[in-house]
Structure formats: C-alpha cells, structure tokens
C-alpha cells in the first residue's frame, strides 16, 4: 500500500485495526527472544559482572530516542512541505514515546554509572546532549499542550522539531569529538564492531524488539490521536448546535 493511501484518516484507522494485533504479537515474540538471549544466554562481562545486562536496555532506548526525533523531523517536513494530513498526528503521537525512551536511556545509564563510574551523573558530552534532547522533547510536548487548535500547533511544532534535529548529529558524534567519559561508538564503526558476537547478537535482538515496541505504540497512539480529534470535532459541533 503506498503511503499516500494512508493519508486518509479513515483508511489509516482501518490499517491500524488490521496491523495492530500482528504488531503486538510480533513485539511480544521479539521481547521473549530478546530478553531470554539478554538475560540467560549472554555471558556476564569479566569486569562488569551482571551490570552489563543494563546495556541491553540502555543502548536500544538511546537508539529509539534518536530514531523517534528523526521520525518526527520527517513528519515535520511532511507537515510543512506537503501538508500531509497525518504528518502532524504522527509527530504529536511520537513525542511522548520518544521522551519516554530518552528517559529510559538516561535512567538506565545512571543506574549503570553508579557501580561502574562511581556516580549517577557526569557532565559528559554524550550525557549532556541526550539530556538536552530530553528537555527538548518536554518542550515540544508543552508546546502541543499549550495550543488548542491542533493544526496551528502542528506547524509551530514542526519548525521547532527541524531546528532541534541539529542536536542529533551532535549526540551521535559527541563521543568522537569530545573524548570524555562515555565510551566511543563500538557497534557501528569503520572496521566492524568491537563487541563480541555473544553480546552483539542479544543486543540486536533487543534492538529489534524495542523497534517493534515503538512501532506498535506509535500506531496505537496515532489511532488514539485521530479518534481524539474526531471527538473534539463532534463536541464542538454539538456545542455549536446548542449555542446557536
């Protein structure tokens, strides 16, 4: 099905209705495999012991936090350039999910940092830039919540999302540009990954599971947002009929 067909909200609702059960099943299946791999199959690190398992939650949440902002930027282009009717629904539905993943990334990172680095928080370049992204997510949500008319809020939020996208390469390359505490890129890098296969495979399984979880939550949130807007429209019609 081409993307343009889904521009019609009713058709999107039909698609969501059919896709969601499959997506939920796939997410549960992927988490079953990923968690078993991560918790029982993957070996403990010889230095970090069992705390290395935190990484299986930390790294996918960080990827998803950044992926979600990229998706919102694509949706922002859709709003501003093509006035795609579902683009601002997609952007609005993604913001809280992205904020939640970014929070999970910061939270698990500080849980791991306490035993390993000896502190919950350092003002390292990677940590700081992710914290800035988290604050920008909250700012975007505040913006969405402060304006009543969704399409007006959508266009304003789209501009801010695109400006905020400058932060994404800063997060990605912060570990290379500033050589501070957070370890440099080790999964995707020139010359192959520096992580052993026994850890890398469970990590990818968890990344797939997290991505499926994100897609499921996002489509469900978009469905709710469309329904919410319809309810709002009906309430306004009703108020109009009663008032005049």
């Amino acid at each position: 099905m081409p993307l343009i067909d889904l521009a019609n909200p009713t058709r999107f609702l039909g698609f969501a209705e059919r896709a969601l059960p499959w997506l939920i099943a796939a997410t549960l299946f992927a988490f079953a495999i990923g968690l078993t791999q991560a918790l029982f199959v993957a070996p403990d690190d010889y230095q970090q012991g069992a705390t290395v398992k935190i990484m299986f939650l930390h790294v996918p949440s960080a990827w998803l936090g950044m992926f979600c902002w990229s998706l919102m930027s694509a949706a922002a282009l859709g709003t501003l350039v093509w006035r795609h009717p579902l683009a601002d629904v997609a952007a609005k539905a993604a913001a809280p999910i992205g904020a939640a993943f970014t929070f999970l990334c910061l939270f698990t990172g500080s849980m791991w940092g306490r035993p390993m680095w000896g502190t919950y928080w350092v003002w390292d370049a990677r940590l700081t830039s992710v914290l800035v992204m988290f604050i920008m997510y909250l700012g975007l949500i505040a913006l969405w919540r402060s304006v009543e008319d969704p399409s007006r809020a959508g266009r304003a939020a789209a501009v801010l999302t695109l400006v905020g996208a400058i932060n994404l390469p800063i997060i990605k390359f912060s570990v290379d540009w500033w050589n501070t505490l957070h370890q440099p890129a080790s999964v995707f890098r020139v010359g192959g990954s520096s992580i052993d296969r026994s850890i890398l495979m469970p990590l990818f399984a968890m990344a797939i599971a997290f991505t499926l979880l994100f897609v499921t939550l996002h489509i469900a949130a978009m469905r709710n947002e469309i329904l919410r807007r319809r309810v709002r429209g009906m309430l306004m019609l009703q108020a109009h009929a009663q008032g005049g």
């Binding site: 505040a142 501009v159 905020g164």
Partner: protein, 222 residues
C-alpha cells in the same frame, strides 16, 4: 533596501523610547550578577574563578528577557501584518528585526561587562575575554531566540513557553562561550579553538534563525 533600513531605525527607536525596555536587560544582568555573591559567598578567589560563567549565564538570561515582545508588540497593534505584506523577503525582514533587537538589548550587555566584571573581581584580561566572547556569542542568542519569539506570537502563548523552548538550543553557545573565555584566562587550551567554534555557531544561527522564524510566522499567522 530602504524599507529594511526604515524598519531597523523604527525598531531601534521604539526600543529606546519609554516602555521600550531596551535597558531592562542590562538592569536584569546587574541584578543577576549582584545576587550571585549572596548565593555562593563573597570569596574573591571563588568569584574570580566562576566570574566568566556568571557573566555568561546572566547575559544569556537577560537576552531572553525582552524576546517575547519582539513580534508580539507588533502583532498587537497590527503593524506585523503590514510588515509581513511588505515586498522585502520575510527572512530578511526577520533578520533586520533581530538585528535591531540585538543592537538594543545584546550590545548593551557587552558594554556592561567591564563594570560588572569589577564587581566579580576580574582582572582586565578576563574582562576583555568575556566581553569579546559575549560580543561574538550574543548575536547567536538573539538569532536563536527569534525562533522562539516567532513561535510565541504564532501560538499566542509567550510567557513561560518561550524560555523552555529556547534555552536547550542555546546550550552549545554557552558551552563554547564560557570555554573560550576560560581558555583565554587560565588556559591550557588555546583560545582560538573554542572561539572559532563560537563564531561558527553565531554564523549558523544567523542563517537558521531567520529562516525558521519566517517559516513559523508564515504558517502560524494565516
């Protein structure tokens, strides 16, 4: 060109008149710098060490102060609609309004640094370094802030939302501004590296700010 020059003169004249609030930023800057010794204690050695950071933070907050009036005042009396309908490209118009705003609120902050630096017991070299980095950095703060000002008027909600949206975007400017000032005062990093990045950030915001703000105004005010 003539229209843009007229707009620049008009905006500066309004800002300097009664109710314009051009010097409110400097007063706020003075208040922040005066409050700091009460919070951290009047130890001169400590104040000398964190002085550049205090001056940068004060200037950052002060430059946010008058931002929400940048378009809102013109929107209220209807002149914003006239400005938007003018023949000059909207991006240039926004850039000129931001320039006028910087000349009346950002530049006075730089001028105030020598006096406020004395309050924090900074030596002449440190005062010079902070003034120079602020001169290079405050345009970035204004031109990033202009995006927030456009959002505030398009959404008709300025107030608290604007600082929440703008402050995260100013983090790189603050980092490189303070590290350039510190590099000049105590080293060991050479002054050039962070200072050129600060200048690059300013040049980038000179481009991105007007375009994003113009897009917001175009989409928000129809």
């Amino acid at each position: 060109m003539q229209a843009l020059r007229a707009l620049l003169v008009r905006d500066m004249r309004i800002a300097l008149r009664i109710g314009g609030g051009a010097l409110m930023g400097v007063l706020f800057f003075l208040a922040v710098v005066t409050l700091t010794p009460f919070a951290v204690g009047p130890d001169p050695a400590l104040l000398r060490r964190i002085g550049p950071a205090i001056l940068w933070l004060g200037a950052l907050l002060a430059s946010l102060l008058a931002l929400d009036r940048l378009f809102a005042a013109d929107h209220e009396d209807g002149s914003l609609d006239l400005i938007l309908m003018g023949s000059a490209p909207l991006e240039l118009t926004v850039a000129v309004k931001a320039l006028a705003h910087w000349l009346t609120t950002g530049l006075p902050l730089v001028v105030a640094v020598p006096v406020l630096g004395l309050l924090l017991d900074l030596d002449p070299l440190a005062i010079g370094a902070v003034a120079l980095t602020l001169l290079a950095g405050t345009p970035a703060l204004t031109f990033i802030g202009v995006i927030g000002a456009a959002l505030a008027v398009a959404l008709r909600r300025g107030g608290l939302l604007l600082p929440v949206l703008v402050l995260p975007l100013t983090v790189p400017v603050l980092i490189f501004g303070v590290s350039a000032a510190d590099a000049a005062i105590v080293g060991p990093v050479p002054f050039g590296a962070p200072f050129t990045i600060l200048c690059a950030l300013t040049l980038m915001s000179l481009v991105i700010g007007p375009f994003a703000a113009a897009a917001t105004l175009r989409h928000g005010l129809d």
